[in-house]
Symmetry: C2
Subunit: 255 residues, 2 copies
DNA sequence: AAGTGGTCTAGACCACTTC
DNA sequence: AAGTGGTCTAGACCACTTC
């Protein structure tokens, strides 16, 4: 029972000054932060089970209920998946999950088919001003640039320009580029995309995009400007997708 | 303590056959459903406080923890607002809330200004096939149709076609049409919009929309096809908005 | 049968608001 | 000081999965 008058603290995770500035910080929050720390450090890999609630509670010196609250919060953030009778697992970035979590384009017939991708170009170099602004990079930072065409049901539908901070992806250039990039980030670089911020606009497609998509220049298209953030809320990827929406739409469900 | 081997049930809310089909239905779920029932019945009005957790627990014959879990679920669904030290309140459909919850258009400078609206036309009549399909209406159902122009920062930006089932909005024709329709639905008709499903496409604006918006026909625009659902998940409003996105964008944040 | 997460209770104490 | 929701604990039992 919490019978002292002091707030229970797991460890001096934050410096004393910082702790004061933060004010009250519940135990389950501290547990969550520590478990996320471990996810970031790769203590458990995607798909692997975490220790059971009882084990974690014993190890951290808190009640099972507090661990449960921390894990429930992490499940709500899509960082872990809980399965009754089986355990709690580190979330995986496989196609199924990505499809529902971050890929919002749906066929007008309701079909959710994951697009097939063809890389059009891959390069590395000094970042320009817009790239630095989007990704929050410093002046001399270098970036990796990928341009690819994505087809849905055999039909070119999306051209994508992807920009990555080179420093976060050492050895990227020599790799095979898979269709599902977020899975690659997780598997080979230990980077988990935890959230995205998308800005949508309607545009007329440019000459160069028109060629790639096989549609007349000037055709209206949906431009999706996406910034993807890591678990630590650090910008990881900037992606601009130009989508033909004559046979598909962007689905947004709000509550 | 739950020492019997039977599942605790609040009341025969669901018929026996239905209960079997549903399988296990936790107590807090039953509490939530009963409280939502009361919201639907207008037992408490938007902005009003609910009884305290302790009072509800005593009244319903469950523990405070179970009531808390039900109220937390309702807060996650944006049906109530919880304020430490003050109480739990029925969510209100005022501009601030709508702005963040359902209105996703943001100025490119980051400003979230709620648009000013001008009604272009208002009519009632027999529903057509598309309207019936969108709203799930029967063959002879009548609808109310509103067309309006919305301006942001003094600039025409959106033309909207709104369709409502006439049966759900008796006396609507004689009313003043406010800028915030969802507030009107809540206040005068006891209908709370609990969720929406939006489908976005890029289109070229039609001649008639071009006139309303003061832009050349063929200009690319964002078409938002929105279905709004009540607390009981019944379709309440079908709204098609055509938006000029040269100075604003649709913001979607995914986790 | 054993182990996991899920539900439910009871009770203590805390943070915050209002009077 | 009194009342509210928020946190935390301990413990019982349930639903579900695996062996």
């Amino acid at each position: 029972m919490a019978s002292s008058t002091e707030q229970k603290v797991l460890e001096p995770a934050a410096g004393p000054a910082e702790a004061e500035a933060l004010g009250f910080r519940p135990l389950y929050r501290q547990v969550r932060d520590r478990l996320i720390r471990r996810l970031v450090d790769g203590v458990w890999s995607p798909g692997e089970p975490l220790p059971s609630e009882i084990q974690l509670a014993a190890e951290l010196g808190v009640s099972q209920g507090t661990v449960r609250k921390a894990l429930d919060a992490m499940a709500a953030e899509n960082l872990v998946v809980r399965r009754q009778g089986r355990g709690t697992f580190v979330a995986r970035h496989d196609e199924e999950r990505i499809m529902f979590q971050f890929f919002k384009l749906v066929g007008d017939d309701g079909a959710r088919s994951f697009p097939v991708s063809t890389v059009l170009s891959l390069s590395q170099g000094r970042s320009n001003a817009r790239e630095r602004q989007a990704l929050g990079l410093s002046k001399d930072a270098r970036v990796i640039r990928i341009r690819r065409l994505r087809s849905i049901a055999g039909r070119p539908a999306i051209v994508e320009d992807i920009t990555l901070p080179e420093a976060m992806f050492p050895g990227f250039a020599g790799m095979e580029i898979p269709n599902n990039l977020y899975g690659l980030y997780a598997m080979h670089f230990g980077i988990t995309i935890a959230s995205t911020r998308e800005q949508l606009k309607a545009v007329a497609i440019s000459e160069v995009d028109a060629v790639a998509l096989g549609a007349p220049a000037g055709t209206p298209a949906l431009k999706i400007d996406r910034l993807a953030l890591s678990l630590e809320r650090q910008p990881v990827e900037w992606r601009v997708s130009v989508c033909l929406t004559d046979q598909l739409h962007y689905l947004s469900e709000l509550r």
